[in-house]
């Protein structure tokens, strides 16, 4: 027992060292591992326990941060920005804002699941930014990107989401929202959501998709197969008559690979369905699947009208 504990402590010490980006002494680590097969097993157990703990922590750690010390939130975020630029790994940022709100942000290609205090959850897609209110878990604002909401319905306290100048109020449970410079799109797979109850007051039902351009009161309601609602979370994106500028923006956000549109091709529309892992492994596959041209420029993959 004491022996196992000693091995676990040694494994923890190695995991702390190898976990730092500046660690270089891999030969000494190899020698320690080779000394006894129990060492590798203990290291695996520690490494997995720590990785899992770090994965579940953000969901509930936020309120505790205030107690650590004043000025903490600001340093947190500055430090985070600094480290991200140093190691070229953009970690998920969570930081506290004014008036009890906090922001959750993902890098392109990253997704994140946020548990809400009342049992609901929000899956946040890549390159997205969501503001939540610590004092009221029924309020949220999707500042940019895409999120799939699974909301516990409570008639006495409806869930309200602001998306740019629009407000969505849930009457039910599962819905997906995209917010880009061009506008917003709402797709519902369960229950119902009301679009701008104080203005147009449109109820969007399962299998429907509402789109509205930025800075406009006009909206359109179309149909979407239920399986396609939130499918990005299962690693797939489907486009139906989507302009290339939207394709490029959605793909960049979902994969973390930069896509741009060739000059004058932005409005050209395409249809097709893509598996994101394959696009990540080889961005050229986009060309064949959507019937467009694709070429590598200095900074990004450029999609052309074909």
């Amino acid at each position: 027992m004491a022996h196992d504990e000693a091995i676990r402590d040694a494994a923890a010490a190695w995991a702390v060292r190898t976990g730092d980006p500046q660690f270089e002494d891999w030969d000494a680590f190899t020698a320690w591992l080779a000394a006894d097969p129990a060492h590798a097993r203990a290291y695996d157990a520690v490494a997995l326990a720590v990785a899992d703990a770090a994965d579940v922590l953000p969901a509930i750690s936020l309120p505790a941060n205030d107690a650590v010390r004043p000025g903490w939130t600001r340093r947190r975020w500055l430090g985070g920005a600094l480290a991200a630029s140093l190691v070229a790994v953009v970690a998920l940022g969570v930081w506290n804002g004014r008036g009890g709100t906090y922001t959750v942000e993902t890098a392109p290609g990253e997704t994140r699941v946020i548990a809400l205090a009342d049992g609901g959850q929000i899956a946040l897609g890549g390159g997205s930014r969501l503001v939540l209110d610590r004092r009221d878990s029924r309020l949220a604002s999707l500042e940019r990107g895409q999120a799939l909401f699974t909301i516990e319905h409570d008639p006495s306290a409806p869930f309200r989401l602001t998306v740019g100048e629009d407000t969505l109020v849930d009457v039910g449970t599962v819905f997906d929202v995209t917010h880009s410079a061009a506008g917003m799109a709402l797709a519902v797979s369960e229950g119902a959501v009301v679009f701008n109850p104080d203005k147009q007051n449109v109820q969007v039902d399962p299998g429907q998709r509402l789109t509205s351009a930025s800075g406009s009161d006009r909206y359109e309601v179309g149909l979407i197969p239920l399986a396609e609602v939130g499918e990005w979370q299962r690693g797939r994106l489907t486009f139906r008559d989507a302009p290339l500028v939207q394709v490029a923006s959605d793909l960049s956000r979902a994969t973390g690979v930069a896509f741009v549109v060739a000059p004058r091709a932005a409005e050209r529309s395409v249809s097709g369905s893509l598996v994101l892992d394959r696009v990540k492994a080889d961005p050229r596959t986009v060309g064949a699947l959507l019937g467009v041209t694709i070429r590598h420029t200095g900074e990004a993959w450029e999609i052309g009208a074909g």
């Binding site: 402590d9 060292r17 270089e24 720590v50 107690a67 140093l86 690979v257």
Partner: protein
């Protein structure tokens, strides 16, 4: 041009250090799969380039070892998940309601939240500083050297706080796995 150089650099370092990496994977517990895993490391390098995630790598050899180490952790994770699924299947089929398989998603979700609560309690029990340092390092991804500056303590204090947190979390996981 620069991208081609960094790719050639990484691939050259891989080829030069192939045996060293292989020894590492074997010691790390890969056994017969060491060669397959070497191949995976190689593929990750190629993917990294074609995926354009790349910037120049400051320490290519460390990058390769780290990639190999993370592959082993992933492998361990999937073995553990497979074991757990098998156990869950057995439990379900021993139970009185055959045919009723998965717990509802809300219940699974609560198990995740319960796990989060236990993790937070375990860390908080070590004190405010180790708990905060763990979050900064593992959740926010801040390097240990920068944390020493941020918290105004020595690097060895950062390391010792993290060691305590890691050991405590490993212990928690053992307890949860037994339960």
């Amino acid at each position: 041009m620069a991208a081609n150089d960094s790719r050639a650099g990484l691939e050259a370092v891989f080829l030069e250090n192939r045996e060293r990496l292989r020894r590492f994977l074997v010691a790390r517990g890969a056994g017969d799969a060491a060669d397959d895993l070497l191949q995976e490391v190689w593929l990750k390098i190629a993917q990294r380039e074609s995926g354009r995630l790349a910037g120049p790598i400051a320490a290519p050899l460390s990058y390769l070892f780290r990639t190999a180490d993370l592959l082993m952790i992933d492998r361990y994770r999937s073995v553990r998940q497979a074991e757990r699924r098998e156990r869950a299947w057995t439990d379900t089929h021993d139970g009185t309601t055959p045919g009723v398989s998965d717990a509802p998603s809300v219940e699974r979700h609560l198990i995740g939240r319960e796990h989060a609560r236990l993790v937070a309690e375990t860390l908080d029990a070590l004190g405010a500083r180790p708990a905060a340092i763990f979050r900064r390092h593992r959740v926010d991804g801040i390097a240990q050297r920068l944390l020493a500056q941020e918290f105004g303590v020595s690097l060895s204090t950062i390391e010792s706080d993290l060691r305590r947190a890691y050991a405590a979390l490993a212990q928690l996981k053992e307890r949860l796995d037994e339960a």
